[in-house]
Structure formats: structure tokens, C-alpha cells
Symmetry: C2
Subunit: 479 residues, 2 copies
């Protein structure tokens, strides 16, 4: 009992200490554990199951978009990593190096992939000859390693899980189209499945990916008002193609360089789910991504007929939903608290009185609303309840986002917003990196993105230096 009690009681409140609340939820919901390797995490069953659902649903969207999965080696020879100048400068300082294989010292160091642009380029240089070989739209689900000094569960760790798509196209237009297409797939998935609305846009040069000509991003707003970069899609132009010699013969028999893209999301998304939807009782999972959508909890289960009926209900629900039943000897109160901590969208309470009345009580995790449902309507009604809950979660997240965007017209307003208003700040930017740097130094706020769909000019001058400015930027403190 002592252990369960701790599970239920020892969670820090969000308002008191958001960072500690986050760590508590991650641990107590059984999502992850620390390992004995510095900066590396263990994905425990409840955490990994969320990732499995992300994989399954996102991969289905990829396949509809003609993406083919592959798997490339986890090692990159040092000479290969060095072929694209910006890329190696961006990644070399943070990679892990293998120097010995078996009992021998290797003739060349191998880095454990921090990302696989170089390997895909090496492959494409070998298999692309003609325009008939294009496009290539490959993706891999794997883990990558970046030797981080400070780590946080799901948000930043030395090893993490992700997918990385890498494509090669005949034309610049097709590459740009694919870059945008994948960003939209990410944004739609996050909104429709994770109930997380995204701000979409382009990164400034300072924030773009090492080696990219343009980086597009989706940025989500966490409950503490900080932004989380949740997915990126890069257009490489022909930069990597020139460095790696990836050429094809076009229909006129001319040799051309391919145009490339890459795009990825990672287990960071789990961090986003926690920090957008969680509350002081723990995790709250949107029904579409929840590994367990409903937990059946029998009340007074020792009484005759209760377990039998609960099993029947469980069996029926299992035909349509991801459902479990808690028949341990814990008290109903503990079972409720555990189900809430794990963020299971609803629980189905069923006691002797309910059974006598031919009903059960469905309790929503997000609102705590109790809904009495006749047993013979349970499957239909549960589908409705889960749908409503999913919609409500998205709409609350959208409201939160909308109410946490403030406009700044000059540097005074900007600094005041940075100090007092958690969330995004919209402000014009002249395009000079010096302003980005000054803002960061003064306020710890960084440029998150320049929105695509917003031609709005909220002012005519840069929010930092006062010079003429035409670019609207979403600024924010970020994870």
C-alpha cells in the first residue's frame, strides 16, 4: 500500500514547480526511467506504448504519401560526415565516436548517427542515375545519438527515438512541395491525433538545420507558456547533391543535380502531450493516441456477479476499443488514482447497484464528468464520449494557444511581454541576426518561426532595432 500511496500523493503541483511536476508525471505514470548511462533514458511500457501509437498512425500517413521505409547503418565514417561543410560543423561537436571494433583499433573513427543525411546521400549517389529513378522518398524509424550535457526526459537526451525522412527529386519545385507536404502531415497529425494545435512557419537562418537552405517547423505551446519545437522539415536545395555528387540524366540527356529534403519528428512529441494536456493528477492522454482508452474498474468486486459482469463488459468493449480491466486487490480509490495518473481517457465504474440498474458510470479523465450509461448502449456511447473528449481537448488547447499570443510593437512592449506574459510574442523583425542575438541575451527569448500564412504587418519597424521590417516572427522562450 505504501507504494501506491506514494504514487497518488507525491506529485508536485504544476503551479508550484512546473519542471518538478513534469518529472513527477513522467516517473509516476511509468513512462520512463533513468539508466546508468549518462543522458540515456529507458522507455518503460506506458511510455513506449505511446510511441508505438505515434509510429503506427504517422507511418500510415507516410505510406499514403508514397513514403517507403528503409534502414541504414547506425555508424557514419568520419570522412563521410565531413563531406558537407555546414553539416559537419553543426554535428561533429556533439557525436559519440566508436574507435574500437572487437579487439582492434579502427583505421577510421565512426560516429554513431546524430542524423543520417550523409548516409542517405551516399546511398542516393549510388542508386540514382536517371530521371526514371526519381523521386526517392525514403524514411527510417530509428534511434540517434547527440552527446547532450543537460538532459530532460523526452525533451533532450543523448539517445532518442525518431523518424527521419530523406528524399531526392528532379526539380527544385518538387523538393519544396515535399518539404511543405511533410510539415503539413506533421501538423495535421498533431492536431487530429495528439490534440495539439501548431504554429507553422519558417526558421530564421540562425535557427535552421546545419546544411539546409530552408527549415520549416511546427511549434507547440506548453502549459507553462514555453514553446516546444515539435517537428521540422528541411529543403536542402542541391547543396548536399553537389557535395556528394548525386546526379541524374534528365529527359534531354543532360546531367543534373538532384534536389533534396529531410524531415523528422521524435519522442519529444511525448513531452508535448504531457505538457499540453497534463494536470495536477497526472497525465491526460487524447483518446486517439492513448494506448489504453478505457479502464474497467469493478466496485465491490468480491460481491457475487460483479466480476463476471465486469468481464462481460470488458469483452464487449475490447471489440472496438483499447481497453483494460483492473481486478487487483487495491481499493477502487487507488485504482481511480492510478488510472488518472496514467492519463487513461475514461474509466468505467461498475458496482452491484449499477449492475442491478443495468448501467455503469463512465468518468472522463479530462473534466471528471460522470456519465451514467445503460450497459446495452455502452459501446455506442463510449465512442461518442471519446470523440467528444478528443474534440474538447483540442479546443481547449487551441483556446490556450490563442490566449497566449501577444503582439509587441516596440522593444519596451517586447521586454514587458517577455517578462510578464508566458506564450508567443508576435513582433516584426528586420532580418538582422544581431537583433535575434540581442533579444536572446536580453530576454532568453528566441525566434521560433516566421509564419507562412500571415502576411500581416503588425508594425513597420523591427521590434528590436526600430529599422524598417517586413517579416513577422513568432518569438518565445523554448525548450
Amino acid at each position: 500500500m505504501a507504494k501506491e500511496k506514494k504514487l497518488v500523493e507525491a506529485i508536485t503541483s504544476m503551479e508550484e514547480d512546473f519542471a518538478q511536476w513534469y518529472t513527477d508525471v513522467v516517473k509516476k505514470a511509468g513512462l520512463m526511467d533513468y539508466s546508468s548511462i549518462k543522458g540515456c533514458m529507458i522507455f518503460k511500457p506506458n511510455g513506449y506504448a505511446i510511441w508505438e501509437n505515434v509510429q503506427k498512425q504517422l507511418d500510415a500517413r507516410f505510406k499514403e504519401a508514397d513514403v517507403e521505409n528503409v534502414y541504414l547503418p547506425m555508424f557514419i565514417p568520419e570522412s563521410l560526415l565531413q563531406k558537407e561543410k555546414d553539416h559537419v560543423e553543426g554535428f561533429a561537436p556533439e557525436v559519440a565516436w566508436v574507435t574500437q571494433g572487437g579487439l582492434e583499433t579502427l583505421p577510421e573513427r565512426l560516429c554513431v548517427r546524430p542524423t543520417s543525411e550523409t548516409l542517405f546521400c551516399d546511398l542516393y549517389a549510388g542508386i540514382i542515375q536517371s530521371y526514371r529513378d526519381l523521386p526517392k522518398v525514403y524514411n527510417q524509424w530509428c534511434s540517434v545519438v547527440r552527446w547532450e550535457k543537460t538532459t530532460r526526459p523526452f525533451l533532450r537526451s543523448s539517445e532518442f527515438l525518431w523518424q527521419e525522412g530523406h528524399t531526392a527529386h528532379a526539380t527544385e519545385e518538387e523538393a519544396e512541395e515535399r518539404t511543405v507536404q511533410m510539415l503539413n502531415i506533421y501538423a495535421d497529425f498533431c492536431e487530429e491525433v495528439l490534440a495539439i494545435p501548431m504554429v507553422k512557419g519558417r526558421k530564421t537562418d540562425r535557427e535552421k538545420f546545419a546544411g539546409a537552405s530552408a527549415t520549416y517547423t511546427i511549434e507547440a505551446l506548453m502549459h507553462d507558456g514555453k514553446a516546444l519545437q515539435s517537428g521540422t522539415s528541411h529543403n536542402f536545395g542541391d547543396g548536399f547533391a553537389r557535395a556528394f555528387g548525386i546526379q541524374y540524366t534528365d529527359k534531354e540527356n543532360q546531367l543534373q543535380y538532384v534536389h533534396q529534403t529531410s524531415w523528422g519528428v521524435s519522442t519529444r512529441l511525448i513531452g508535448a502531450i504531457i505538457m499540453v494536456h497534463g494536470d495536477d493528477s497526472g497525465l491526460v492522454l487524447p483518446p486517439r493516441i492513448a494506448p489504453v482508452q478505457a479502464m474497467v474498474i469493478p466496485i465491490q468486486q468480491q460481491k457475487e456477479g460483479v466480476l463476471k459482469k465486469a468481464e462481460e463488459v470488458h469483452r464487449n468493449l475490447a471489440k472496438e476499443f483499447r481497453v483494460k480491466m483492473d481486478v487487483t486487490e487495491k481499493s477502487p480509490g487507488w485504482k481511480f488514482a492510478e488510472q488518472e495518473m496514467r492519463g487513461i481517457p475514461v474509466r468505467v465504474e461498475l458496482g452491484p447497484k449499477d449492475i442491478a440498474a443495468g448501467q455503469c458510470v463512465v468518468v472522463r479523465r479530462d473534466t471528471r464528468e460522470k456519465i451514467v450509461v445503460p450497459l446495452d448502449e455502452l459501446n455506442v456511447r463510449l465512442a461518442e464520449i471519446l470523440k467528444t473528449m478528443q474534440d474538447d481537448m483540442l479546443s481547449r488547447a487551441k483556446d490556450f494557444l490563442a490566449s497566449h499570443i501577444s503582439d509587441a510593437h516596440d522593444y519596451d512592449e517586447f521586454q514587458k511581454a517577455a517578462a510578464e506574459k508566458p506564450g508567443f510574442i508576435r513582433g516584426m523583425w528586420c532580418g538582422d541576426e544581431a537583433c535575434e542575438l540581442k533579444i536572446k541575451e536580453d530576454t532568453t527569448v528566441t525566434s521560433r518561426c516566421m509564419p507562412f500564412d500571415d502576411q500581416e504587418q503588425i508594425a513597420e519597424t523591427c521590434v528590436c532595432c526600430g529599422r524598417p521590417a517586413h517579416k513577422l516572427v513568432y518569438w518565445g522562450k523554448a525548450y
Copy 2:
């Protein structure tokens, strides 16, 4: 056209050179490619798609058996690897070592996991306290690294993909039960889905896993008469538990060591599919595992109405089957050859005359049988054809296995069988490792397993030394 021609013509015949045939199929069916990292392979779309189907179907069987998926770090500190003596001796000579992280030399070397017993033990030592915490039945899908000197696609490479299950139990009996249960899940999956019959049994001490008290194995027979170890399940007893201090308090409040198991299958299974079912036209995939089960090939597709009808047929088939359509400008002959090379179970040929007659021609990949099918019965008939093909493939593989097992009663017979009869040799063994070694040196044959279900004594003396023997062993040359 030159490229396609090569695809179709340049495959070596099996009888002529089996090893070269294998390499040709692997390359020309688009399963894999070599990478610029020694011993590491690239899983190309057609190869990775097979692995995805293995994962999907095997994982569903795991989940029915209460297995929970997790993900542990890819690095193991040297000190952790060294905790279990036999285990480190078995693996240390063949691991890759990370010695630098970012710009710094690490205080302790980390090996890239060759297998993760030590990490799971470290985790279990932390999270198991009471009998209430047991059993733990965790599994992970990941890649592992073993620094191999000689490599072959899918069969032996420095990095490969696999799953590794690791469990902890309160009792010896429960651990033994889980070890056998998982071996049976593997054997059933291979037989029912891959159409590969397995010989099941226990490994001799010489052949068992480093650190295990018993290793069980499934062994398949390839078309060249060589055995392929296709999956293993290990009972560790409490050896690792003692080395790592994994203890729990039982119901009587006594401290006890847990009993552990581990079990795994890898991308080797793809090698088994190729070498059991392939023929001189390329790969032959069992319908249940084939990423594409049927390829619709329009004939005279430029004629009016052909493409439209083919699209309609494709759309209808796609509701029930994994199906693609080849509408490239290649000739039907080339399309047939490509579909055959890739091992797609059936092709559906559809030309103007077929359309006029309201029919199509279904051609089985394994037998080349042509079956005229009315279009309005196509979905029903195709399901039957695929089922029959799956059954026929298994039954041919079973016949092949049965006809490639010979009994040896003394060493003369044994050596003759080893030299002349490809396949398994059944022979009694005294239990002395010296005999295993002598047999291996004389004939390159190794002990594959001691069958569970065979109490048959085919002789009373050891096939090697002539001393009394009670153990029946399946011997064979192996990959």
C-alpha cells in the same frame, strides 16, 4: 531497358552456385545494398517491408502472450557488461566501443549493445522489490552490433535488426514455461506465416548462449541442405539475478532471487525465407508475409478501356489484399520478370480480350499455374488461391525437410552422410564435448539441437566415440 534486362537475365542458377544465387536475389529483388561501413548493410524498401510484416505479426503474438514493449539505451558501460562472467567472455571480443563523446574522452568505455541482458538486469534490479512486481515480461525491437569479420546479407552482419525479450519470474518453473512458450511462438509463427517448418530442441552446452543455463533453438533447413539457426530462447536460471542482485520479497517475506529468460529472432529470418522458398527466377514470398501479395499487370494498356478496367480491379482488390499495379511503360514480359524476381505471390494479368470475356488470368509465382478467373469472382477466388499457395509452400518445405534427414548409427555412416547427403543427420551423442569437437573438425558439421519431443533412441552408442549414449542430436552444416 538495359537496366531491366540485367535484372531479369543476370541471376546465377541455384544449382550452379548457391551462394552467388543468394547474393543475386538479395540485390536484384531490391532487398538490400552494401554500405560504405564495413560489415553493415542497407535494408532497402523491399527488404525492410518484409521485416515490417514480421514485426507486425510477431508483435501481435507477443502482445497476446502479455509481452510489453520497452526501449533501453544502445550503450552499455564496460563495468556493467563485466558483471556476469560467462556473458562478458562470450561478447567482449566482438563489440564496438565508444570512447569519445562530443569533444571529450569518456571516463569509461561504452560498448554498443551486442544484446541487452546486462541493461535489463540493471533495470530489473531497480524496479523489482516484491512478488507483486513479478513477472516482468519486457521486449524491445532494436538493432544490435557484433563486430563480425565475415558478413553475408541478412545472415551475418556487424549491425542487424532483431527483437530481444527479457523476463523475470518468481519461480524456476515459471521461467522454464516462458522459455518454452516463446520458442513455440517463434516456431508457430515461422510455420504459419513464413511457411518454414522448424526442428525444435535444446542446444548442447558448447552451443548455448553465454550466461544461459539452457538454450532452446529453432533450426530451419535451407535449399542447399545447410541449417539456419532461426531463433533462440534462453533460460538463465538465477545466474544473472545473483550477479546483478535482482531479489524480491516473497509472500512469506523471504528474500529470493528472480529467475530469468531471454529470447530473440532477427532479420536472419529474411535469409531463411529466401533460401527455403526462392528459385532460379528469384524470390518467392509466402502470401502471409509478402508486402505486396498481388501485382495487377495490364496487357496492351494503351488500348481503350484497359487502364480504366485495371484500375477498377486494383481498387477492388486493395480492399482486401496488399496489392499494387504496374502501369509503367515497360513491356508485359519485363513486368512479369520483375514481379517474379521480387517474389510477389501472384500477378493478375488483364488484357483487352480478358476484359471482353469478363475475366483475368491469375498466375501463381510458386508453380506458374495460370488460373482464369471471372472478374466478378476475383476477390473470393484470390483469397482461395493465396491460401492454397501458402499451404502448398509449407507442405513442399515440410517434404523437403523430411527427405533431408538421414540417420547415422556409427561414425562411418556419419562421415558418409556428412560428405554426401545435404541436410540434417540424426545421431546419438554421449554428452562429451570432445565428440562434438572431433565431428566438427572432421566434417564441419555441428550439433544443431537435441529435440524435445524425440525420446527415440536410434542407437545405443555415440555416433562418434562408440561409448554408451542416450541423447539424440540433430547434426548439420550451418550458416
